[in-house]
């Protein structure tokens, strides 16, 4: 009925409005919506008609659809493969794929392996059978500490403030060893390299703390894209859940982490919702068999003028070139990075909307 000969594949940019509309219509007719963080679509055409598509958002494939009449052919496989090759050309070799649990079998045939499944709603898959296992094996081999009470913190530190330092100090006091993960995604005002260095230097005086570079398994765009789309002020609960289940199922057991620390969040709705989700997905004994991770919310501190310290407040002050306010909110170890940063950059509006934990 259908001939492969007429098939052509192309990659299109979602900035092109007309093209994006065409894909959006195609997805709608196949019962799917279009996600805003998708940068490219790989589409298959038969003559001029769109017959399949797969969206690429950084290291994640999603919004994948195949026209009804083509579903029993190998077109799905082909379009996934073309998307994988395109992602590799973009420099992303380790890919995630988001789908619903009933499609897992089909994508399994495309070389993707299930990582985390959330009820009947979503499954996160990756394009290697050993990715998370290797990552956890490395964590275990190099960083596992034999202590009864091990804690963990995940932070973006954009930039690293006295509030972050306080959180680390309090958490370190409350446990025998503390693992701090710095979110690896480079979508924030400060580069990952700078954020990682700021945390490392800020926590240098604490002897029972390990600072880890984040991985794609910890609040990366793959596991938690909503976190990076704050302007919407909507957390996609599914993504938060996936990120947290991944932490509880893989990372916490690898390092024997029993509790996770987080600052209270009075301002940002996304982070506040994330904190609520943490209590549910990490602590609830009834939802999964993996050991629970206790969540400790530590009250946020204020500066000497009674202003709550937050990375976003620091960025706002930086934007106004108000170095006095900045100095009140960050440890001395952070200042050189801010000064260097100020001399190199000017704030743009979009920077201010980015993640600030």
């Amino acid at each position: 009925m259908y001939s492969d000969q007429a098939l052509t594949f192309e990659t299109m940019d979602t900035h092109n409005v007309a093209r994006r509309e065409e894909v959006a219509r195609f997805l709608t007719s196949n019962g799917l919506g279009i996600d805003d963080d998708i940068e490219q679509f790989v589409v298959a055409r038969c003559h001029r008609d769109l017959v399949a598509c797969a969206g690429i958002a950084g290291n994640t494939l999603k919004c994948i659809a195949v026209e009804t009449g083509w579903r029993r052919t190998s077109l799905g496989l082909k379009v996934i493969h073309e998307a994988e090759v395109q992602a590799i050309q973009n420099g992303e070799h380790q890919l995630f794929l988001l789908t619903t649990p009933d499609n897992v079998k089909a994508f399994r045939g495309c070389g993707f392996y299930p990582l985390v499944t959330l009820d009947h709603r979503a499954t996160l898959m990756e394009n290697t059978p050993v990715g998370i296992q290797h990552y956890c094996r490395k964590l275990r081999a190099h960083h596992r500490v034999m202590a009864a009470n091990v804690g963990g913190i995940v932070m973006n530190a954009n930039p690293f403030t006295s509030g972050h330092l306080y959180l680390i100090e309090q958490a370190a006091k409350a446990c025998d060893w503390l693992h701090v993960f710095v979110v690896g995604e480079d979508l924030s005002a400060f580069s990952f390299q700078d954020r990682f260095a700021m945390v490392k230097e800020g926590a240098r005086h604490l002897k029972t703390v390990t600072v880890h570079p984040g991985s794609r398994y910890i609040i990366s765009r793959g596991t938690f894209p909503g976190y990076f789309l704050k302007e919407k002020q909507i957390v996609n609960e599914v993504y938060a859940a996936i990120d947290l289940i991944l932490f509880r199922q893989y990372i916490a057991p690898a390092l024997n982490i029993r509790q996770r620390f987080v600052g209270t969040e009075p301002f940002c709705k996304v982070t506040a919702q994330y904190n609520r989700a943490m209590h549910h997905w990490l602590e609830d004994e009834t939802i999964m068999t993996d050991a629970a991770v206790r969540v400790n919310e530590i009250p946020r501190i204020t500066d000497e003028n009674n202003l709550p310290i937050s990375a976003s407040a620091v960025r706002r002050a930086l934007k106004k070139n108000d170095l006095n306010t900045v100095k009140r909110m960050v440890p001395a170890t952070t200042m050189p990075y801010l000064i260097r940063w100020l001399s190199h950059h000017l704030f743009t509006e979009s920077d201010c909307g980015l993640a600030n934990v």
Partner: protein, 96 residues
């Protein structure tokens, strides 16, 4: 020789295979998935290992996703992935 960058070769069409290679820090790590592993697993493993050793590959992660390919196809895909992953300037054709 070491795999120095991630590379991919092949397709997931029936009778073909995909070989993904990437740098690894703990020796050679070979992972093979095949639809016909029960019948031909040993043979596929032997062909992959042979091809790797012909190129003297001692370090890297090799993932094979086989869809029932013939030995010559397996060899060709593994070779292509290695050549891409080792970024070899000069190809030792006599080994191929």
């Amino acid at each position: 020789m070491k795999i120095v960058k991630a590379a991919i070769a092949g397709t997931l069409e029936s009778s073909d295979l995909v070989v993904k290679v990437s740098p690894g820090d703990e020796g050679l790590d070979i992972i093979i998935h095949s639809e016909v592993y029960k019948q031909f697993g040993e043979q596929i493993t032997a062909v992959v290992k042979e091809t790797l050793s012909a190129f003297d590959i001692t370090q890297g992660e090799i993932i094979v996703e086989d869809k029932g390919a013939l030995d010559c196809v397996i060899r060709a895909r593994v070779q292509a992935a290695i050549l891409r992953g080792t970024a070899s300037e000069t190809i030792a054709w006599e080994k191929l």
